[in-house]
């Protein structure tokens, strides 16, 4: 229970055996009394076994679906088990669970809360096409949601019961759909979205990509998915 609400932390994990135990341990240590569900997205390594040993409930997908598939499992589990809030935390250790209560407090005035970098706290920087993509996305989505959003592709999010109900039924599986398209759909249907400034940590395992080609493709895909989500039913 946090702020009088039953909270489920969902951790989608794909081949994250190096960091998942630490993340589960930290979540359980910092947030006693919350449910912890690790969704193993078809990992080939020991992710599921390690997460179980660390004390999480584990849902194992038979093959890799991508974050969208893993998260729909998470939201459905949360919905069916009567949780009031579902918080997504990444398995790579980027997201500090000490911010979770802050996110949940913000749900008092919103249906969906984003833990955002660039919002005053932390010192995360990007440059080149990836930065332009992020600027474009935050401009458009801020305008659409009538609120200030600086980090629309953040994976550190909290959803209240009303939003969980929608996302348990509908959650895009395409790349970037899980962030951009979800936000656009929520906004178009009148869900209130807010952001809370957070500091993100360097990933415990794996490295983010900085290649200019990849970030240009990223910009193009972000733009495409944004357009698509505006016209989709």
């Amino acid at each position: 229970m946090i702020n009088g609400k039953r909270v489920l932390v969902v951790i989608p994990a794909w081949n994250e055996q190096a960091s998942v135990a630490e993340v589960v341990g930290e979540v359980r240590g910092e947030l006693p009394g919350v449910g912890v569900l690790v969704v193993d997205d078809g990992s080939a390594d020991q992710t599921a076994a390690i997460a179980t040993r660390a004390g999480a409930t584990v849902a194992r997908l038979p093959y890799n679906l991508g974050v969208g598939g893993a998260m729909r499992v998470g939201y459905r589990y949360g919905y069916e088990h009567g949780y009031d809030v579902v918080v997504k935390v990444d398995a790579d250790g980027q997201h500090d669970p000490r911010y979770v209560p802050k996110l949940i407090d913000a749900l008092d005035e919103a249906d969906f809360v984003i833990g955002a970098r660039f919002a005053g706290e932390g010192d995360y920087t990007v440059k080149g096409p990836r930065k332009w993509a992020m600027i474009m996305l935050s401009r458009v989505l801020s305008w659409l949601g009538r609120t200030r959003l600086t980090d629309t592709t953040s994976g550190f999010v909290a959803a209240n019961r009303r939003t969980v109900e929608l996302l348990a039924r509908w959650y895009p599986v395409e790349y970037l759909g899980d962030t951009i398209e979800v936000l656009v759909r929520l906004m178009r249907n009148g869900y209130r979205i807010r952001q809370v400034p957070v500091t993100m940590r360097p990933r415990a395992a794996g490295t983010p990509s900085h290649s200019p080609v990849k970030s240009t493709i990223y910009l193009a895909r972000a733009f495409f998915i944004l357009l698509l989500s505006m016209v989709r039913k």
Partner: protein
């Protein structure tokens, strides 16, 4: 004349393959129907290539072969779009099944560990 033999053989081969696939239950009925229709249209045209000349003149295309080519291309494009649609739908269905299995297995393991 040689060309007519070639196209006729092709048309009949198509019909035989479709029939055999349906007979072995390898093709769903809807596709069998589709391809059978194609076969039925193609075979007479293969035997009498000039059959469509009158129609093509009426719509302003110089000869029947061009009309067939054009229609064939349109047909294949539409078919490709249809198949993409089918694959998207199938992917969505298998995704839902995979998620359902993950949830069921989780519930089962929970029930087992509660009993112990």
């Amino acid at each position: 004349m040689k060309l007519t033999i070639l196209t006729a053989i092709t048309g009949f081969a198509l019909l035989v393959i479709i029939f055999e696939l349906v007979r072995r239950r390898q093709l769903r009925e809807k596709y069998a129907l589709l391809w059978a229709t194609v076969g039925i249209v193609v075979v007479p045209l293969a035997l009498f290539p000039r059959l469509l000349d009158a129609v093509s003149l009426a719509v302003g295309i110089a000869n029947g072969a061009s009309l067939v080519l054009f229609l064939g291309l349109v047909f294949l494009l539409v078919l490709c779009v249809h198949l993409s649609w089918e694959v998207s739908r199938l992917e969505e269905e298998t995704r839902t099944l995979a998620e359902e299995i993950a949830l069921l297995r989780t519930e089962m393991e929970r029930a087992n560990s509660d009993q112990r």
